[in-house]
Structures are given as C-alpha cells and as structure tokens.
C-alpha cells in the first residue's frame, strides 16, 4: 500500500519504477529533512541496498526536474527533499535540516508589484526562511 503510489509517481514522471528509484523515493517519502546525494547513497548502502552513486544522482535530479523534489544549496552541495507539486516556500531548520512548506499570497503579490515597477517580466522567484525549530532550540 505504500509501494503502489510511489511507483505511480515515477510512471507519471515518465520514469520506469526500478528497484533503485523506488528505494530512493521511498526513503525520501518519510523524511522531513533535506538530504544530499552523497549522504543518501551512504545511507542506502548502509541499509543494505545495492545502488550506485551515479544512479542516486541521476534519480534525484530526475525527480527534481519532475517537480517531486525541492533542491537546496547547502554549503557547496545540493540537498533534496520531497515536496508538494503546487508552488510554495520553505522554512528550513539550520540545525536538523527539517523543512516545512509554506504558501504565501503576500509574497506572490510583492513579486509581481516589484517586478512591474522595474519593468521586469517575472520568470520565477524564491523565498525561504531559515531558523531553528522548536526541537533544536
């Protein structure tokens, strides 16, 4: 009952539901924090899974392109996290990397007004908040 929807999500993204992709998506599914390709690879290997580093990179990138994952830049590497498909912003804990999704009409309004004032045609925007969550304090 948990494998089915994951496999479907992959199909919807035009990706074959292979054993490796399922294990990546599966471990991302129940995780509140963002993780790097390197770390996820080590974790999966540690848990006994057989998957190559290259595949982890490819899978994460493909899932992000399909809009199933958000990408963050942490230090000089990128971290991924499962995310909803509608537009949203983030509240990130700098200690445990937990990420909460936020929606915000206020931000959207600001984006368009500010861009209009400067004669820009909006192609995208990003608004994230960083902090320490209640558990980490």
């Amino acid at each position: 009952m948990t494998v089915r929807p994951v496999a479907q999500a992959l199909r919807d993204a035009g990706l074959r539901p292979t054993r490796q992709r399922l294990s990546v998506l599966q471990s991302l599914r129940d995780r509140p924090d963002a993780v790097t390709a390197q770390d996820l690879h080590a974790e999966l290997r540690g848990a006994g899974a057989s998957i190559g580093l290259t595949t982890v990179y490819r899978t994460l990138t493909a899932l992000a392109d399909a809009g199933l994952l958000d990408v963050f830049t942490r230090d000089s590497e990128q971290a991924f996290r499962r995310c909803g498909t509608v537009h949203h912003h983030h509240l990130v804990c700098e200690t445990c990397n937990k990420v909460e999704e936020l929606s915000a009409a206020e931000v959207e309004d600001w984006v368009h007004h500010a861009a209009d004032r400067h004669g820009f045609e909006v192609t995208g925007h990003r608004a994230d908040i960083f902090g320490i969550c209640s558990e980490c304090r």
Copy 2:
C-alpha cells in the same frame, strides 16, 4: 576621487588596500551584474592587470563576509555583486545577470509571522525574484 573611498571601504573591513584588492573592488563598483570569480579573474587579466585566481577568490569571499558583496548561486558556481549594507532582496535578470536591490516590509512581516506560527526562531531569510529586464526582452 574614486580610489579614496574604495580604499577606505577596505580599511573599514579590516583589509589592507592592496593593488589587487583595489582592482577587484574597482571593477565591481561600476557593474550592475553579478560575476563569478573565474570570469572576473579572466577579465582583469585580459585588461592587463596582474592578479592570481586565488587572490580573486579570497578577495571576493572576504568582501562578501564584510557585507560589501552579495553572493548568488548560478548553476553550480557562485557569482558576486556589490551591494548596500542594509538588508535587501533582489530582482535578477536571468539573461544579462543585472541585479536590482529591493527592500520589502511585506516580506519581513511574512517571515516573522510564518516562523512564529511554526515555532521557529528566525536566523535569516532570503527572497529573490528572477525575470527578464526590459532591455533583454
């Protein structure tokens, strides 16, 4: 009359105003777009300046730490741009990399309200808009 204030800015940041640092800060001063260390190094060399790549990296990082430059992540490398010292947001042209600074009380309000609602202690935030400027359209 343009060298003096630049040198002073360096002193204020606790950095000796050396020939190399002056040339970096100087070329950043009259530039509306964000530039990477690699590109800036090539440019300075091309203009006849004598400066090492390592020094360009160190100088840009030091100036960013001192709050004189903003850092952007473009593809997988970081680009720098001179900036004001008060908190602000950005409007970035994805074609020519021109950057305009914005201030926005709306965003600050949203940040604190959203963080409070989730029990986070705010340590920082970032809100940038991407688009195409009027000249590039």
